[in-house]
Amino acid sequence: MTERITVDARGSFCPGPLMEMIAALKLAKVGDEVEVLSSDKGTAADIPEWVAKVGHTLVDSTAHGGYWSLVVRKAK
């Protein structure tokens, strides 16, 4: 069964949302989704850039008031 894990990285300056995404994906199974909530607007660009390089799937990227939600599905 696939799962969705949510990491609330709002207010996380270090290690930050992308590092949290990478760490959570390492523990996930192929097909699982990781959602990261971030208050850092750079994340909305960084996570898709990394996902494209590594070959996972960006499922969703939504701007909410003051924070962003990014969902990535583990592809390998």
């Binding site: 996380s12 270090c14 390492k26």
Partner: protein
């Protein structure tokens, strides 16, 4: 009936909590209304930040260790008896000896561990300095290093976020002092799109790297190491040759956390301000083992411990508590063998490092010695 406080893990966070509570509830300990027990994995307390200096012969191994019984307040019961199962429903911990420790309040402070085995070839092909054995081997490798390609490779997640930069700058100074810079090529790799997690630190370090001729590969998450070919590859499709590979391995929390079903990867879901385990009111979590998305560092463990101490003392003395953790982290950063800087931040305040100076380097060295006072709760 005495109220029982049990602390699992006798590293930085567990020791500071135990000593801090003991110092403030002397009367309750004397009358037997409260007792404090710590269970750990080892009789010796290791000051981990000192490991950074081992490969360069800048610290004696004896300075890294103290007997745990001498670091802990003597009113605390201490057992070297690793926890095998933590049962937060029944309020008890079963240890390796078979002994069962029950508690009214539990502090989980089991830290994080190096997962060199999860990346093929890492254990055989890489050096590291995050444990004593690794730091000793690296010291030997550096002593015979006569030039070549050095790769410094950071993996997510890891404790002490500043260590990858520190080892790079210190290594640069060390090899300059040995006259080997013109025979050495440095490449630094980092998991995300800049050379450090903290944006202002990355902003400061990038031109420094460029000035020193240190190359870097960002978006580099290690997939495999080939010790025969001496190559390291990333999930992003980059392969780098090396003569000496220094890695910061990926980390996970302690095995007992997964075995007790308390958190995937050994990271315990923890409320970011109360530091209570999600779902428990009598279980607090400090240090590396929380799943809070902040730096895994001794200073984090220390500031979290301060919050937990105040709350446990209030519980024992007044029956209620209210102190919240604000996410504070403070890190010294060595920027070479003779200079350093520092950075602090919390959930609300972004980091803003000051320019490196010799004075801050001396502060870091002084702290390395003062740690033992701080762990005892005297500082």
């Amino acid at each position: 009936m005495a109220k029982k406080l049990l602390i699992v893990g006798s590293g930085m966070g567990g020791t500071i909590v135990a000593n801090g509570v003991a110092r403030q509830i002397g009367g309750l300990l004397r009358t037997g209304e409260v007792n404090i027990t710590v269970i750990g994995n080892t009789p010796m307390h290791l000051y981990q930040p000192g490991l950074l200096y081992v490969p360069f012969g800048r610290i004696h191994e004896s300075e890294l260790f103290r007997e745990q019984t001498r670091v802990l307040d003597r009113r605390i019961n201490f057992h070297v008896d690793p926890a095998k199962h933590i049962d937060v429903e029944k309020n008890r911990v079963t240890a390796q000896s078979g002994r069962v420790y029950d508690y009214d309040y539990l502090v989980i402070a089991t830290g994080s561990r190096l997962m060199t085995g999860v990346i093929p070839g890492m254990a055989e092909g890489a050096h590291w300095f995050y444990d004593l054995e690794g730091a000793r081997k690296l010291r030997t490798a550096l002593a015979s290093f006569a030039g070549g390609k050095i790769v410094i490779n950071a993996n997510a997640p890891h404790k002490c976020p500043v260590a990858p930069l520190e080892i790079t700058f210190m290594l640069y100074d060390y090899l300059r002092n040995r006259g080997l810079l013109d025979k050495t090529e440095f490449t630094y790799t980092y998991p995300i799109g800049r050379i450090h997690a903290l944006e202002p630190v990355a902003h400061w370090a990038k031109p420094e790297f460029e000035k020193l001729g240190i190359k870097y590969e960002t978006f580099f998450n290690t997939s495999a190491i080939d010790p025969q070919k001496k190559e390291i590859s990333s999930e992003e499709g980059v392969t780098l040759p090396y003569d000496l590979l220094i890695t910061i391995p990926p980390h996970q929390g302690s095995q007992v956390i997964e075995d007790s079903n308390l958190g995937k990867g050994g990271w315990v879901p923890t409320n970011r301000t109360t530091l209570q385990r999600e779902g428990s009111t009598n279980v607090f979590v400090v240090g590396d083992t929380t799943n809070i998305p902040i730096s895994k560092a001794g200073s984090t463990a220390h500031f979290e411990a301060d919050t937990v101490i105040e709350n446990l003392v209030s519980i024992f003395k007044e029956g209620s508590w209210s102190r919240l953790y604000d996410g504070k982290v403070y890190c010294f950063v060595e920027t070479g063998m003779t200079t350093g800087t520092y950075v602090w931040f919390n959930y609300e305040t972004p980091p803003n490092p000051t320019p490196p100076s010799q004075m801050i380097h001396w502060f870091k060295l002084a702290y390395n010695r003062m740690y033992w006072l701080s762990a005892r709760g005297l500082l």
